[in-house]
Subunit: 230 residues, 2 copies
DNA sequence: CCATAATTCATACGTTCGTTTTAATCATAG
DNA sequence: CTATGATTAAAACGAACGTATGAATTATGG
């Protein structure tokens, strides 16, 4: 057991530093020398343990996403088995997906707020391979949750639900990434009021907004005089 | 007469290429050589005309944002003078801010969809100075629109409105940036259905969602309720 | 205890980056 | 036409990047 201590330590220290630095400065904006410098390990350690910078950030995500997505699946399965065939409430589904992610930020062993902000920021990351990787990691879970929403909202066209899922992801991503990084709108009172109980209050706030948007009146398209879709 | 043609051409060609490349690959992910290469101008032209890469992206934004923010101000002023003292409808305010931005994407002379996507992506851009620059550019307009929402929704706590403005920005940013770049959720039908009439349909869809979220039931915070949990 | 594998280390490689420099080319005014 | 200032062009700068190398160090199994 003692034999692997230094190995694991080095790997974990690199992952921790990379997580924090990618969150703060983005993928392209973070250099290997910054990462290894902050982690207190040799420059070559990243390539030795992970192979490349690309593999490193993938491992940074995998370390957290594996648990998160399994948890999301577990919750949805549990909800559906409890519902016993009946449709779930949209609020249950939304909370299972987005609430689980936000509550993860309270658990420092799972990356805490740092990973959450990295997550929020990376969904619009410029680098092609990162988006491709995330899309792949998320595919199964997203499909399950989309399907659950289809059944929970049988009167809403599927395309509309997909779009609103998209909007919800954006609102969440932004809410997370911006809690204390970007302050286009805020800039005055949010910081003080919510510096401590940030997550306690952010979750209900976001959930209200998401559910309001998800259940909003359906849009009317300007030239809509012909047949409906789907 | 003819004397300024080449100068203006070079400047504009650089700005156009930079706009497109920053949109596609981000700020750090785009090199001066890519920009000048695509624009068909000499590498040194950027530093000659703009001074630095940082100044270049600021000019890329200023070229479009000046008009957009003036238009937003004009619209809000007009709405308020028409209302003649009475409170505006939230939908008018939201449309003035977000609708104006989306409609700008239909005008190719104002950057079209390219600038809109650059905009959406940059709001979560890692580079510190870019976020600071945008925050500064937006300050006046955002304050005016926030104030308008305060008056339009007198029963909603101001902090709540600020948060929901924040969420709306995120949903919009994401909706724009992702229309054909990132496809975490979509990946199947949106592309085909909305490749042509993307903007015609995106605007009503987004507006419904935003207004639903803005007017949603107020959140209940756990510690305000007498009982702890359920 | 020693052979061997695993890990760390210092160092260097080849590229690419943003910027600068200096000379050539252009347009315009006197 | 020529003087002058503005623009473009080619080339190079030093710095930083991700990665690779080979030796030194550490841990492990027989």
């Amino acid at each position: 057991m003692v034999e692997a201590v230094r190995l694991i330590d080095t790997r974990e220290r690199i992952l921790d530093s990379a997580e924090r630095l990618f969150m703060a400065h983005g993928y392209d904006g973070t250099s290997m020398r910054q990462i290894t410098g902050e982690a207190g390990v040799n420059l070559a350690a990243v390539n030795y343990h992970f192979g490349s910078k690309e593999s490193l950030i993938q491992e940074v995500f995998r370390r957290r996403l594996d648990w998160l997505n399994e948890e999301r699946m577990r919750i949805l399965n549990e909800l559906e088995s409890e519902a016993d065939g009946k449709a779930l409430k949209p609020s249950q589904i939304v909370d299972g997906f987005f609430g689980t992610m936000l509550r993860m930020a309270g658990d420092e062993n799972r990356g805490g707020i740092t990973f959450l902000r990295l997550m929020g920021r990376t969904l619009t990351e410029p680098s092609e391979f990162i988006r491709a990787f995330l899309a792949h990691e998320y595919k199964v879970v997203l499909d399950r949750y989309k399907e659950a929403l289809f059944q929970a909202l049988p009167d809403v066209p599927k395309a509309e639900i997909v779009w609103r899922f998209h909007f919800m992801l954006g609102a969440t991503s932004y809410a997370i990434a911006g809690t204390d990084a970007l302050r286009l709108v805020t800039d005055w009172q949010i910081e003080k009021e919510d510096s401590v109980d940030r997550l306690d209050r952010l979750l209900p706030r976001l959930m209200s907004f998401l559910l309001g948007g998800l259940r909003a009146q359906l849009p009317q398209f300007p030239e809509e005089a012909a047949s409906d879709g789907e």
